[in-house]
């Protein structure tokens, strides 16, 4: 699982640039699934019996948050705006990589203490990036629209925990790939589509278009959810190491949700639950109302520090969700075809 994550938690694949991840996904699934992409850029891996009556879709968004270059001034400083819900508090003074014609390391400008007590109000309109390079060189290597990613290295913490940026939702993508590995060479009672969907962080675009085109009979969304940590209400979160968070929500299919809950009990897998009064804030909100309605469930990997460069998950949780999903698929899902 760690190997898969290492390949996935990279600078590539900001929302709108997901096809940068195409070769990586293809390589990770080589010999396991037929990988293609659609008009929106969704990467779709086909497995199982393509003629089966039953069609299950597993979705994980592959886009990551970051920034986009919007302006370069005469001194060579680069202005950028967030793509997705960046945590502005995490930006000042952070190193970033700018994906220009060359990858350039930069730093997000921050005022030294003599000019600021650190109390300044953060604003997405005031983000400047410093490469230290002369303006002509900056303009040669970097163009408007280039991706900017906050620098972070995958670090293994104690107890199989991992910290790195992009775990939202490359951790979910890794779970799908691990699940596919488990299903390799198995005869499935259904058609299975693994969807690595685009632009969840900006509009949930990919989940909607993929669900429409694929028209599955049911879908399970794998995303990250809040892990318990200081300042996060316990009803909105699951503990790191809990094995996965199953969502219960009015927009979700009771059949899919119950099947996952029952499976976890039957297999003696631990899990936690998150109940929401409305939507889930994941791709499931889009998928469940696609076409004439698609029964959808959500299972999440508990994650600390969401939308920062120190996102934090447990490899054990990911492994367990992959196991649960593999059995879910082997048993032909929840909804009768």
């Amino acid at each position: 699982m760690k190997k898969i994550l290492k390949k996935l938690c990279v600078d590539q694949g900001l929302s709108g640039c997901e096809l940068e991840m195409y070769d990586t996904v293809k390589e990770l699934l080589s010999g396991i699934a037929a990988v293609a992409h659609d008009t929106s850029g969704n990467i779709i891996a086909a497995m199982g019996d393509q003629n089966a009556e039953k069609h299950i879709m597993l979705d994980a968004h592959i886009d990551r948050i970051g920034l986009i270059v919007t302006y370069i001034n005469d001194e060579g400083f680069i202005k950028a705006e967030p793509v997705g819900g960046m945590d502005l508090r995490a930006l000042p003074g952070s190193a970033v990589t700018i994906r220009g014609s060359e990858t350039v390391l930069g730093v997000i400008c921050t005022m030294p203490p003599h000019l600021s007590n650190g109390d300044d109000e953060l604003s997405k309109d005031k983000i400047w990036i410093d490469t230290g390079l002369p303006a002509d060189q900056v303009k040669e290597q970097i163009s408007l629209g280039d991706s900017v990613i906050v620098y972070s290295q995958l670090r293994e913490l104690l107890n199989h925990n991992i910290a790195v940026s992009a775990l939202d939702n490359r951790a979910g993508c890794a779970v799908l790939i691990r699940c596919a590995q488990k299903l390799k060479d198995k005869k499935l009672p259904c058609r299975l589509s693994l969807v690595f969907s685009v632009q969840e962080e900006t509009s949930e675009l990919g989940a909607g278009t993929a669900a429409f085109s694929l028209a599955p009979d049911e879908a399970v969304v794998v995303d990250v959810g809040f892990a318990s940590q200081d300042g996060v209400p316990s009803e909105k979160s699951g503990k790191i190491g809990c094995g996965g968070i199953i969502s219960i929500s009015p927009v979700l299919s009771k059949a899919v949700t119950d099947k996952m809950i029952n499976l976890s009990k039957r297999l003696n897998l631990s899990c936690d639950y998150e109940v929401t009064g409305g939507g889930t804030g994941t791709n499931a909100d889009k998928i469940s109302s696609s076409k004439g309605g698609i029964p959808t469930g959500v299972i999440s990997i508990p994650e600390k520090n969401m939308h920062t460069q120190v996102e934090f998950v447990s490899l054990d949780d990911m492994e367990q969700i992959a196991e649960l999903l593999a059995i879910y698929v082997t048993e032909g899902g929840a909804v009768n075809a």
Partner: protein
């Protein structure tokens, strides 16, 4: 060119104030073949004498500090997370959501961030105070964490080092760059006898330099530093203080010192003779070991020559190679000018 591979080694060595040992070891290893006398004093300062071709009339000390800013473990919580305090002046924003290394073995950790999704709109726009933050090492609970971390362990930024296209991005350039300049001087043949000190605990009150200056008892001193450059899009005119790419910085006055005016002039002249850029600070800001050295004993004539550095006390600071080269040229030439008198 200065030895920038050595700068990388110095910057990536971890050594907050009071825990300079790793940096000290690198320095001693580098200078041992070249120095005439090396002593480590009770505070951990490295005091060096190097003979030159001539013995001048006065004693000149060239000083840089070994310590970097960082954090220290103050408590281990029931949830297995670590409370910490800053060592040296660090803005709240510099700590937030950073990757860090803890203790002698460089255990990985992260400064936790309450997800913005659960915050109110105004909370999203302000950095929380450092004393409200926790470091997560992935421990299950307090007992688990205590197996790996102890109170008082050092914490440093886990950040990239890059030297490319004429500029360097790294942690701890303040003041491993100064250490590099001193090492490079010790490695060359000197015109005059000189004293050098690699000192501890600058960031928490110029403490090492005080002891070093007492022991060496110099007549004059040059402090080699990294100083704040705020030449950023949101800073105007004089508030930029000094500029990256503007050359060596000779301070006239800062919060700790009014520098020796004649020596400042010598430094400017030295820059001109060496054909390198030189600038001064356009604000009375910051302070360095000169504060402790110039007031030592009966007084020491002191000048500071610094590399302009953006994001000085943060995980990724930035300098230009041309400025670094200029500082070396100015320090060496100024030293010779002082000692030739």
């Amino acid at each position: 060119m200065l030895d920038y591979e050595l700068l990388k080694k110095l910057c990536t060595a971890d050594g907050i104030s009071g825990d300079e040992e790793r940096v000290r070891n690198i320095i001693i290893e580098e200078i041992t073949p070249y120095a005439d006398k090396i002593t480590v004093d009770n505070m951990g300062n490295v005091l060096v004498f190097k003979k030159g071709k001539q013995t001048p009339k006065q004693k000149l000390l060239i000083s840089a500090h070994m310590d970097e800013v960082g954090f220290i473990v103050t408590d281990i919580l029931d949830n297995g997370c670590i409370k910490f305090a800053s060592v040296g002046g660090i803005n709240d924003s510099a700590a937030f959501a950073k990757q860090v290394k803890i203790g002698k073995n460089g255990l990985s950790g992260v400064v936790n961030a309450q997800p913005i999704h659960v915050l109110k709109a105004d909370e999203r726009k302000k950095n929380p105070k450092i004393d409200s933050l926790q470091i997560d090492i992935g421990a299950k609970d307090k007992e688990d964490a205590k197996k790996y971390v102890s109170l008082g362990d050092s914490i440093v930024f886990d950040a990239p080092y890059e030297n490319k296209n004429g500029r360097i991005i790294s942690k701890a350039i303040d003041d491993r760059f100064g250490c590099l300049v001193l090492i490079e001087m010790i490695k060359t043949e000197l015109l005059y006898d000189m004293y050098f000190s690699f000192v501890v605990q600058e960031e928490i009150g110029l403490r090492g330099a005080k002891a070093a200056a007492f022991t060496i008892a110099p007549d004059s001193a040059i402090v080699v530093e990294a100083t704040t450059a705020a030449d950023l899009p949101s800073a105007e005119n004089e508030k930029k203080v000094c500029c990256v790419g503007g050359g060596a910085v000779v301070s006239l006055m800062d919060r700790a010192t009014i520098y020796d005016k004649q020596y400042c002039r010598l430094a400017f002249e030295a820059a001109e003779e060496q054909g390198v850029k030189v600038q001064t600070k356009t604000m009375i800001a910051g302070g360095n070991d000169a504060g402790a050295i110039h007031s030592s004993r009966g007084g020491v004539r002191t000048v500071a020559v610094s590399v302009p550095c953006r994001y000085l006390h943060a995980s990724s600071s930035l300098i230009a190679v041309e400025d670094a080269e200029a500082v070396y040229a100015v320090v060496k030439a100024t030293a010779e000018k002082i000692l030739s008198r």
